[in-house]
């Protein structure tokens, strides 16, 4: 199935653009889709978003279809889902 990943803030800078399209297997979790997406990106993007063991940093907000999830590893995606990754910003 087809999903879209959107990068915001510093993730967008490191990715070079805001959006990626991805083909994933049925029953793919949000975390698996993020891991797949960043595998093809510069290592700095992976470090910004994921820990060494491949889970999402606690402070990176991930939303699926505009709803934030704190449990990327068990959130199942559906065809056409949009995932948004937001490393926190604090500019004032």
């Amino acid at each position: 199935m087809h999903v879209t990943i959107e990068f915001l803030g510093q993730a967008r800078e490191l990715a070079g653009s805001a959006r990626r399209s991805l083909e994933v297997a049925a029953a793919c979790t949000a975390l698996e889709a993020v891991q797949r997406a960043v595998d093809q990106e510069p290592p700095a993007l992976r470090e910004l978003l994921l820990t060494a063991d491949g889970s999402l940093h606690t402070w990176v907000m991930l939303s699926v279809n505009d709803v934030a999830t704190h449990d990327a590893a068990t959130t199942l995606l559906t065809d056409g889902a949009t995932l948004r990754l937001m490393p926190p910003i604090s500019g004032g």
Binding site: L8, W59, A68, P88, S90, G91, G92
Partner: protein, 261 residues
């Protein structure tokens, strides 16, 4: 004998006088606003922490709307490189305390406004005192340590916080109401190591989210409209893409996880 209470004149809110009615004539026409909302603003006190690119328009718009008292917290002296965005500053003030310049500009603009100028940034040492002085907090701090000090204390004191931030051409804003919404620590439980004090800023971006933050504070104080409760609005002014994300509490959040249901 005590007269019966007049519902159009609730006790505890300061009355409007002729100058108020003239100053705020255009906003008193706003549907859902009216005299009682104006009196609520007149009687309100708001903490704006800091008054740089983001906090300057927040403070200016709150002063314009008729908020009676602003507490400004911002340490340090004005630098030349602040002047691309810090709208309450002036060129001749470079080298002198920013917060004093901001207070002076606000008083010139709105002489009836009470301004409390604190030449310090929010920290665990002063958060209880500064948050304790106000009804609403607007968080415009450039460091997560400051944001955490402010939010943790606001949660303890059950005070709402408008939380806004920017980076480059992007910005985000949400409103945190203790006991009702997810808190900042649900989203950012610890200081993210990637964040650096120096970040790209275009003043029009910090100004845009600052105006939105002032509107959120006005809504909290008056009951106008509906606020960004458990809604994170994020936008990129370069592409004009706007998103809204529904937020949820984090199980085991270090701040709100146990004490509210």
């Amino acid at each position: 004998m005590t007269p019966p209470p007049d519902p159009s004149n609730p006790p505890g809110l300061p009355p409007l006088d002729a100058l108020d009615r003239e100053t705020y004539a255009w906003q008193l026409r706003l549907p859902g606003f009216g005299e009682q909302a104006q009196r609520a603003l007149k009687g309100a006190s708001v903490l704006v922490s800091r008054v740089g690119g983001l906090g300057s328009p927040v403070a200016m718009e709150l002063a314009a709307a008729g908020v009676g008292r602003l507490v400004l917290a911002h340490a340090g002296n004005l630098k030349q490189s602040d002047l691309n965005r810090q709208l309450l500053m002036t060129q001749e003030w470079v080298g002198r305390p920013r917060v004093a310049c901001a207070a002076r500009r606000l008083r010139e603009f709105q002489p009836r406004l009470e301004v409390v100028a604190c030449d310090e940034n929010l920290s665990p040492a002063n958060a209880a005192r500064l948050v304790g002085e106000v009804d609403v907090v607007v968080d415009c701090a450039p460091l997560f340590e400051e944001r955490f000090a402010m939010h943790d204390e606001a949660f303890r004191q059950h005070k709402p916080v408008v939380e806004c931030a920017m980076y480059g051409s992007e910005a985000s804003i949400t409103t945190v109401v203790p006991g009702r919404t997810a808190c900042l620590r649900c989203r950012v439980p610890e200081v993210p190591p990637h964040w650096r004090r120096e970040f790209p800023v275009l003043g029009a971006v910090s100004g845009a989210v600052g105006c939105l933050a002032a509107m959120e504070a006005i809504k909290l104080l008056t009951g106008l409209g509906s606020g960004l409760l458990d809604r994170l609005l994020s936008f990129d002014l370069a592409s004009m893409n706007w998103n809204e994300t529904t937020l949820a509490r984090r199980q085991g959040c270090p701040v709100c996880g146990t004490s509210c249901g």
